[in-house]
Amino acid sequence: MRAPVSDLPLVLDDVSLQAGATAILDRISLTIAPGAPTLFIGPNGSGKTSLLRLCMGLAKPTGGRISWGGRSDPTPTRRAFVFQRPVMLRRTAAANVTYALAQAGEPRARRGERAVALLERVGLADLADRPARLLSGGEQQRLALARALARDPQILLLDEPTASLDPAATRAVEEIVLSAAQSGIKIAMASHDLGQVRRLAGEVVFLARGALCERAAASDFFDHPSTPEARAFLRGDLVI
């Protein structure tokens, strides 16, 4: 049985991350609540990946506090993560999903059936018996999404999941993300593809140099960015 706990809202309170003398994230306060997808954007090195890792509980902040549904225990109960380059377990596609289901506490008797449904959801039903590591990059990323959805998450964190994919594979991934969002899963995703941000975002969180510069509804952000950094970023200037 899954404990009736929630991972939302995800609250970052004055969170900093230091690596030696370098500040990777600087005093970020942010609440992520259910709703339309939140897209994290900003130049490379602005701290998007680190922020998402902290949100997942994969790393600990060096300052400030993070809580998930009011709990400060970082055990990922109802959240899942999709990495830019997912690691495929050395087994078949179906076995990758079954593994994720087992870790999420799904009873053994139901795993097979749910794995089939999840593979169908990401369009990989035909490749169920294929070794996961022999799938193409796009197929691997869709399998990673199936594994993440196997956790029955309230919030799905994605770190530039389409950064190394071709347009067709990118579209397939975006469609899965959108349908997950429509089914009520909160999406928190990093991207540096502004077209993708326009296609997916309900709201935008703009980061620069490890600081949260701007947070706004997507349309407002694109029409009236309020900080000089965001304006420069949208113009295509280098933001250092």
Binding site: R53, M56, G57, L58, T75, P76, T77, A80, F81, F83, P86, V87, M88, L89, R90, R91, Y99, A100, Q103, A104, P131, A132, R133, L134, R147, A148, R151
Partner: protein
Amino acid sequence: MPDHLSALQLILNADPTLLAIVQLSLSVSLAAVALAAAIGMPIGALLALTHFPGRAILVVLLNAMMGLPPVVVGLALYLLLSRSGPLGELGILFTPTAMVLAQTVLIVPIIAALTRQTVEDLWIEYRDELGAMDVGALGRMTTLLWDARFSLLTALLAGFGRAAAEVGAVMIVGGNIDGFTRTMTTAVALETSKGNLPLAMGLGAILIVIVLAINAAAWGTRVWSQRVTG
């Protein structure tokens, strides 16, 4: 007849003495590999996945123990298993069981050390993904051991090679008793010293062929696994 032709004849005629020796050698070394794998792989995986004070010393010690001299292992086990020793009651000195134990002691460090290296490398790749799936300590260990299964074949192979080739430990705890605890290596040593070169050469040739065949099979498995699992 030259010695090497007699040796060939012994092999081609499937000489029963020779076959019995080969069979005993193989069953002792394979049993030792199985036992050492059951002990060494969890130790290696545990060492790869844990951090505690003194871990580095343990890793160095384990690596050093890969070169444990067989005669020393034989002597230590002899002292333990001899009638006046702490485990003398078991009455297994000079039996194949004692030989399996000796070879197990000899190759546990090899399998554990190679497993640690393999699992640690794989862990670097898997850490975040398993963390995101909330995989517990035991689950990490079994997942990594399973996903490293084809690489770990090499560790088993190294263990088998060492077990099948050593003389000192089985000689001391087995006693090289004709028809009971005589293995390929102890027989080669004995027959050579007796001047019975054909049997020694025949056994030597078989030993080399076995080691080659097992390595070839393991190589084939790895190539196949690369193709099949990526």
